[in-house]
Every structure is written in C-alpha cells, then in structure tokens.
C-alpha cells in the first residue's frame, strides 16, 4: 500500500533552553490520516516538541517540514489546529462568548483588516456543531465547565478547517466520565472527518486504547510505532524509570 502524504516531518530536531537540552535528535514523520499519541514523563519535552512544530519555539538544530515546506516558509497556519494545555484554566473573567472565541479560529485564514465573511461564519457554526458547543453560542467561556471549555477550544481549532489537530493534554481538568465521550469524539474526528490527530497525554492507557500510533518521548525518541507492539514494561521503564507497570483503567479503583 502506498504511504500517505507526509504532513509533519522532523529531521534530527533538537531544542535547548540555554544549554539544557530538552529534546534531542528527533526524527519522525506524521502522515495524513494518522492518529498519533505522544507519551512521556513530565519534563520529557512533549510540549516543547509541539511548540517547535508550531513555530512558537525555534529548534536549535535540525529541520521541521510542514506539508512539504520548511517551517520558516510555511504560511498556511490554518492547516494546523492547536488546542493548548491550559484551556481548562483560561482566564474566567475574560468577557468573551463561545462564538467570539471559536471565531478566532478563522483568523489564520484572514489577512489584516479583512472581515469575517459568510463562509467564515458558516465554518464557525459548523465547528461549534461538531464539537457540541452550539448550544452555548452566547454563553461566556468563563462560565463553562472544564470539559465544555475544552470543547470550545477544539471547536476553535476546527473552525480553521485544519488538516491536523494537535491537542496538548486534552483531558486535564475533564472529569473521568466526560473523558470517554471526549476520546470517542476525537476518534470520530479522525475516522469521519479524516482529520490527522496528534495528542499529548500522560495517560498511557488512554493512548494505547485510542490512538493508532504512539510516540514515546523522554528527551530522545524512545519508541515510535503501533501501541500494542510498543507499550510493554521495557519501554515504560525507559520512559518513566524502574518499577513502572502498565495498568489499564479497568485495573484502577474508582
């Protein structure tokens, strides 16, 4: 079977804060249609990796290629939708409605001084509908629960009609019951909307259950491949240290 088109390619990418290396010599490719989970210990460089891909941080070595273009020349920012980690803790006092926030997802497609067109508003309405937040259209984002706010930020990312959706720890601050629904929602986006998804999680079990491929990061690339082949105790030990054991959610007491 021919390989799908490469969307994100990293070639020997490293990033250091001052002289402390955070990620080192990462080489991997994310292709169209993938559903990739990134796991690794805290401080292992997961968020840094995402920020390097997005251009919020600049790699100290190596090359990032997005949709076939070097990241420095990549202008179609709307092709990557990003849901940052802290959305459940966003400023609750900020006076913005769900509609106003989701609309910012279209800005990457518009130039300065350009106004939102009917096409933009339609895309915003559709993104709110898919994410299940259309009923909160005129509600202030600060008045929503963590899980609802999470969906607003996903709607915001979807409004740009991206090819890739990147989520950083999407279930932090979302209660366990809502997490299952949330993972089903992500799977449906991957399956039905043909969206390529990358999500960072500390929840190894969720990644192994939900994603098609997994990437393990602890400064270096520890593993990259199919979850069932990789998530054994040997790999976990390299990621999280000795005495790591993989428990499924079924094993954990409620």
């Amino acid at each position: 079977m021919p390989l799908e088109e490469p969307y994100i390619e990293l070639d020997n990418v490293s990033f250091s804060y001052d002289d402390t290396p955070v990620i080192e010599n990462l080489t991997f490719t994310v292709r169209k249609g993938e559903y990739l989970g990134i796991i690794g210990p805290n401080g292992g460089g997961k968020t840094t990796l995402i920020k390097v891909i997005l251009g919020l941080l600049h790699q100290t070595e190596g090359r990032v290629v997005l949709f076939g273009k070097d990241r420095h020349d990549f202008k179609e920012k709307h092709r990557i939708g990003y849901v940052p980690q802290r959305v459940t803790q966003t400023d609750k006092e900020f006076p913005a409605t769900v509609f106003e926030v989701v609309k910012t997802g279209r800005i990457a497609r518009l130039g300065f001084f350009e106004r939102f067109t009917k096409k933009d508003i339609d895309a915003v309405e559709r993104a709110m509908e898919i994410s299940g937040v259309a009923k909160y259209r005129d509600t202030l984002v600060g008045n929503l629960s963590g899980g609802e706010r999470q969906r607003v930020f996903i709607a915001r990312a979807l409004a740009s009609e991206p090819d890739v959706l990147i989520l950083d720890e999407p279930t932090v601050g979302v209660d366990i019951g809502a997490q299952k629904t949330f993972y089903d929602f992500l799977s449906s986006l991957n399956r039905d909307q043909h969206l390529t998804i990358i999500f960072i999680s500390h929840d190894v079990d969720a990644v192994s259950q939900e994603t098609k491929t997994v990437l393990c990061l602890n400064h270096n690339l520890v593993c990259h491949g199919l979850p069932h082949d990789l998530l054994n105790e040997h790999v976990l030990e390299r990621l999280y240290g000795k005495h790591s054991k993989l428990l499924t959610h079924k094993d954990t007491p409620n």
């Binding site: 997005l54 251009g55 919020l56 202008k75 920012k77 709307h78 990557i80 990003y82 940052p84 966003t90 400023d91 006092e93 900020f94 006076p95 913005a96 409605t97 509609f99 106003e100 926030v101 609309k103 910012t104 800005i107 990457a108 518009l110 300065f112 001084f113 939102f116 005129d138 202030l140 008045n143 915001r156 740009s160």
Partner: protein, 266 residues
C-alpha cells in the same frame, strides 16, 4: 439653547470630551482584559513629564506629552519583552520615574502654578482650538485602528500564544496597543487630567463587564458609560464649578456602583 453652549470654550470642551469619551474605553477594554489597567496611569504620568517639558520649552504641552508617552510605550514594551523585569514592575518604574522627572523640570521652570493644577485634574476652560484639532484627529486615528484591527486585538488579548501560533505578529500588536493607549492618554489630559485619566480608561470598562456579556457588547456598553460620564461630568463641572476630571470620574464611579448593585440583585 442652553446657556452652557453659548460659550465657545464649552463647545470645544464637549467636542474634545466626546472624542476622548469614545476612545478611552476602546483602549481601556484591551488594557483591562490583559490585566494591564496600571498601564493607563503609567502613561498618564509619562504624559505629565511631557507636559512639564512642554511648559519648560514653551511649546504646546499636548505635543510634548504625546511625543514622550509614545516614546515611553516603546521603552515599556521592549523592557517587558526582555523578560528581565516583571511587567508590573516596568510600569511602576516608568510611573514613578517620569513623575520624578516632571517634578524636577517643573521646579527648574518654576512651573508650580494654577496652570499645572489644570493638567493634574482637568479643566474645561483650557482646550484651545489647536488642542481640539489635535485631539479629534488623533482620536479618529485611534478609533479607526481599533475598528480595523479589532479581530487581531481581541485574539492577542484573549490568548497571545494561540494568536502567535495562528501567524499573528503578537509583539507588534502589543506595541501598537500600548502606543494607541499612549496617544489616548495624552490627548485626554486637558479634559480629565493626569491623575484621573486612568479612571476614565478603566472604570467604564469594569462597569460594563459587570453585565457578563460578550466582548463586543461589553465594549459598546463601556463606550456608552464613558460618554455618559463625560457629558454629565462636563455639565456638573460648568454649573457647579468643579474640576472637570473629578466630576467625570465621579459620574463614572456612580455608574459602576449602580451596575454592581443591579447585577447583584438579579
């Protein structure tokens, strides 16, 4: 016609007041939601140093105030971006530093007089035709900037990191916001005064925020509150012989307390 409008100076005060009343909360909104309310006060004190320089050099103080506060906005943003000093401390540095400079220049110029009082607390009788022209032209510039760059200003205020990931030049937009604030503050000094302009920029916005509505609605409401404060304040200033800045800010405070009580009851 009301007696108040028989005087040219009152008409000029109203024209300048309305221009300021629209522009102050437009900028104030973006400062307040960024937790940057102190910026208005800082720029007001910088403008005061500018006024002192104007009085010393015998040039129109409104020009030197605008020049110095726009210059300071560059300094504030570059120090903040350097991350060597906390953002809030940068504001404290510029606020007290420029007040010190103002006081020294005024001592040298022997400028402590009634004229100075009008710059501190605002005065309706001091707006000249030249001042009015500058105020209106610059108010239009600030207004158009906010209208045309509304979506960019909103996005960078709401989430600077996401805005950057979407390709917006966040640092440039931040600098522009502070420069627009510098202009808005400097042109407001004649009517509202150095010590009270911060209040006109912040109070109508926090009053409007009490109603718990979206950004655009809150912005429009804050302009309505600000214009009401300016117009009623100018009337009070004329008929009760009060410093205009004080009268305007007291009306803004009454609107704030009313909004607070109204929202609490509902």
């Amino acid at each position: 016609m009301l007696e108040i409008f028989q005087y040219d100076f009152m008409i000029r005060a109203f024209e300048a007041g309305i221009a300021i009343g629209i522009v102050a909360p437009l900028i104030g909104m973006f400062l307040v939601v960024r937790r940057y309310s102190l910026m208005a006060d800082t720029l007001a004190h910088v403008s005061f140093a500018g006024v002192a320089i104007g009085l010393f050099l015998k040039i129109n103080p409104i020009f030197s105030a605008i020049g110095l506060s726009v210059l300071a906005s560059f300094g504030i943003e570059s120090l903040r971006n350097s991350r060597r000093i906390f953002g809030e401390s940068v504001l404290a540095l510029f606020l007290s530093g420029s007040l010190a400079i103002a006081v020294i220049i005024l001592s040298l110029a022997k400028g402590f007089n009634a004229n100075l009082f009008s710059y501190l607390f605002g005065s309706i009788s001091t707006v000249s035709t030249a001042d009015l022209l500058v105020i209106i032209v610059l108010a239009i510039v600030v207004f158009l900037d906010v209208m045309f760059l509304y979506k960019e200003l909103f996005f960078t205020s709401f989430d600077p990191e996401l805005a950057e990931a979407s390709g917006l030049p966040v640092k440039a937009i931040n600098l522009m916001t502070v420069m627009l604030a510098a202009v808005a503050v400097a042109i407001s000094i004649r009517i509202v005064g150095v010590l009270l302009i911060g209040a006109l920029i912040v109070i109508p916005v926090i009053s409007a925020m009490q109603y718990g509505r979206g950004f655009r609605f809150t912005l429009i409401l804050s302009v309505i509150f600000s214009l009401t404060s300016v117009i009623l304040g100018l009337f009070a200033s004329y008929y009760l012989d009060l410093a205009s800045g004080g009268a305007i800010v007291v009306v803004a405070l009454i609107i704030f307390l009313f909004s607070l009580a109204l929202v609490k009851r509902s």
